[in-house]
């Protein structure tokens, strides 16, 4: 056996997280761990009603409490009064109406979190209660007055594919209700805002998924130019979609600007549930037409996503849902109608899966019904219909990428089931453990199939990009990017890319902040591809410059040079020099912006989406 040298942490190796040691020691600074001299605490007053007219707000009681330094309402917002990721329809503070339970009305800054709580309790708001719109169907049928100037329908999208009159001898139908879910990241929302000494700008440390989008929305509401709002990523305790919308960002910044003091705001667990968007509840109706041997002929479907009071990303979630109507199955004909609507329920937006989860629940329920109606095994019915590379989606998009679905299903089906539970199990083996929430006689085993296909990255013509800078100095590399690290591991991957491209081992990354171009959102499974692409591009540009430098010194055409492990070699000669040596007293820095392939809008019939749907296969026997 030959002795191999120590494995380098390049692509393909299982590298350790660079922040792992500080995280296990408790040293890693999450946004909630941050402090500043002379800091105040902030807190938010929220509506106890889902729909009401605000008759009056009296904040004088809060001002009378010792330790309270600032009380703000909608009247104090210096810039735009509303914000939003896609449509700017959500107020910084409610003005005139509250549209969901938990909507912010006022914020206070005080010397202690307990003082804040007392100040909030001392604010008097008089409401005129209105009948809330809670049934999404009433948003569609127009039986409830518009609860927002933008109306009750956020978006409608239809998809018409093939022969809509086609039918088959087997017809199965179902209506599926999918409830609301919450991301429940562990580190609740928190931010520390530090105003500039001249009062003309602000620095905000915040746990977020997208620094530049936060900055854009904050600057508008604060009435500041974007360059005066500097965001730094505070350590992020999980995200899962819930940090794509802003929550306390504007409030914290505004309190800091008003008091000219640093302000920290942190939600408790209960407030966190009110403070961010959730997964959309949905009602999905589907009717599958099939041949007697179980092949899908046509799918009819209707989707209703309840977006809650403000639109957030509802319009994009709807598109993700309806374009995944068929699931990972061939579907020659389809007619789909989808709505994302506004109600007085809690606002919904991004959560991992982003609309596809809801579609999956419905199409997989349908596949089981199809299996039952045809008498075909539930594995076999799926295998007969699976989509393959080259097949069209109902949007007209051709599935170009690998589609190893048959193998996924067969290998999953071949896996042994866990052992049956003993008739008299140890209490810790019961669901709920020592909480004794279940008795053995009530426990049965259910086995079901869930097969799904999920798109990656953005669609509908959005020109998505990410930015990265690579600086090589004396054999060491420093990377710079604004990519939110939320636990997914981009800070592990980025140095691996640099080591692989440049043949260096000492790679660090700079503070993650807005002092470079946007990296886009840490969402849609996009950062490995997008910010990875940006880091890769920046490193390749630096490599070209390094080759030019080495080529000039050694009189070799730079095009003949290549990286071999940690050396630069002449592919047509004998030159071999370590990158370390070659880059001594040499420094070069390059910035690269990576864009993904262009996508197209859906037309009124949902065609030519060109969503660049990169499937992620998920098979979950449950």
């Amino acid at each position: 056996m030959t002795i191999t040298k120590t494995q380098r942490d390049i692509l393909g190796s299982s590298a350790l997280r660079p922040d792992g040691i500080s995280k296990v020691q408790g040293d890693f600074a999450f946004s909630s761990d941050l402090h500043a001299e002379n800091m105040l605490w902030g807190a938010t007053l929220r509506s106890p009603h889902p729909y009401a007219r605000i008759v009056s707000i009296d904040v004088s009681g809060a001002w009378n409490i010792s330790g309270v330094e600032c009380v703000i309402t909608a009247e104090d917002v210096p810039g735009q009064l509303t914000y939003g990721l896609i449509s700017e329809d959500q107020p910084v503070f409610a003005k005139e109406f509250v549209r969901y339970m938990g909507e912010p009305i006022a914020a206070v800054a005080a010397d202690h979190p307990e003082t804040c709580r007392r100040a909030l309790a001392a604010i008097t708001v008089v409401y005129e209660l209105l009948t809330p719109l809670t049934n999404p169907e009433h948003a569609i049928d127009g039986t409830h007055e518009p609860i927002h100037p933008d109306g009750n329908i956020i978006r409608r999208q239809q998809i018409v594919h093939g022969d809509i009159n086609a039918t088959g001898p087997i017809v199965v139908e179902g209506t599926y209700d999918i409830g609301m879910q919450d991301q429940a990241f562990l580190g609740t929302e928190s931010a520390l805002a530090i105003p500039d000494h001249d009062g003309a700008g602000i620095e905000v440390f915040v746990a977020t998924q997208w620094l530049h989008e936060d900055r854009k929305q904050m600057a508008k509401c604060l009435g500041l130019p974007e360059e005066k709002v500097r965001l730094v990523l505070g350590g992020v305790g999980g995200a899962f979609g819930a940090r794509e919308d802003i929550s306390l960002q504007v409030h914290t910044a505004l309190l800091a600007m008003r008091t000219s003091r640093p302000v920290k705001m942190q939600y408790g667990r209960e407030e966190s549930f009110f403070g961010h968007v959730h997964r959309h509840p949905a009602q999905i109706w589907m009717r599958h037409h099939a041949t007697t041997d179980g092949r899908i002929v046509k799918i009819e479907a209707r989707f209703v996503f309840d977006g809650g009071a403000y639109s957030s990303t509802s319009s994009a979630v709807l598109i993700n849902g309806v374009t995944h109507t068929q699931g990972p199955y061939q579907c020659p004909n389809a007619i789909v109608d989808g709505y994302a609507v506004r109600t007085n329920n809690p606002p919904c937006g991004a959560m991992r899966g982003f609309g596809v989860v809801q579609a999956c629940f419905a199409h997989e329920g349908q596949m089981d019904k199809l299996a039952a109606a045809t008498g075909i095994d539930e594995v076999e019915i799926r295998l007969r219909n699976i989509i393959r590379t080259g097949d069209p989606m109902i949007t007209g998009q051709i599935l170009e990428s690998v589609a190893p679905l048959e193998r996924c299903i067969r290998e999953t089906a071949a896996m042994p089931l866990p052992a049956e539970m003993a008739q008299q199990p140890h209490e810790l083996d019961l669901p709920g453990g020592s909480g004794r929430t279940a008795d053995r006689r009530n426990i049965v085993r259910g086995i079901g199939w869930g097969v799904s296909m999920k798109n990656l990255m953005y669609s509908e013509g959005f020109d998505d990009y990410s930015t990265a800078r690579c600086t090589l100095t004396n054999g060491s590399v420093e990377l710079k990017f604004a990519t939110s690290e939320v636990g997914q591991g981009f800070v592990t991957l980025a140095p691996q890319i640099a080591r692989s491209v440049l043949g260096v081992d000492n790679v660090t990354y700079d503070t993650i902040d807005t002092q470079i171009g946007s990296a886009g959102s840490t969402s849609a499974s996009r950062q490995t591809w997008m910010s990875g692409g940006a880091v890769d591009g920046a490193c390749r540009m630096v490599r070209e410059r390094l080759f030019e430098h080495v080529g000039a010194i050694h009189n070799v055409d730079p095009l003949r040079l290549a990286i071999d492990d940690t050396d630069i070699i002449d592919t047509m000669g004998t030159l071999r020099i370590s990158v370390q040596e070659a880059s001594a007293n040499f420094s070069v820095s390059e910035t690269y912006e990576y864009h993904h392939r262009t996508t197209e809008d859906l037309d009124e019939n949902g065609k030519e989406i060109a969503m660049w749907l990169l499937p992620l296969w998920l098979i979950v026997p449950s």
Binding site: V24, G26, F30, S32, H112, E114, A184, T188, G238
Partner: protein, 162 residues
Amino acid sequence: MSEPEHYTLTVNGEEHAVSDAWIGESLLYVLRERLGLPGSKGACEQGECGSCTVYVDNAAVCSCLVMAATAVGTQIATVEGLNQDGSLTDVQQAFVNEGAVQCGFCTPGLVMAVHHLLDHNDSPNEQQIKEALSGNICRCTGYGRIFAAVDSVISVRKNTSS
């Protein structure tokens, strides 16, 4: 608020004076905001998630549920005190090596819970491990890598002691 309180807490073997505190403050708040020990995390503040796990007289507790002023006279240990020379304990090293850390918010609490388990039982079975860690919630990993880290510590300790 009520009259400010003054008391002393013993944390990681050192005495810390707490002055001008509100009597209602939790041990978690005092550790984090007054004593400069933010390693214990606040994620639920209702004893559900275990992110704030510390030891009070060698009992693993949720520091969010302990009134700081009631911990006077006890020995309090936090994640910062696990290895004060800056090196990693075997549990911490195993969490890093096994990929049991993602966002890391639950990690200090889990490290404390695992140490507490293994201090009292050097060869727990799967059921006992799950029960011991059932008070600690992780939203990123799905727990598989965390159990792998625990298993690796158990086997390394066995091999080095035999």
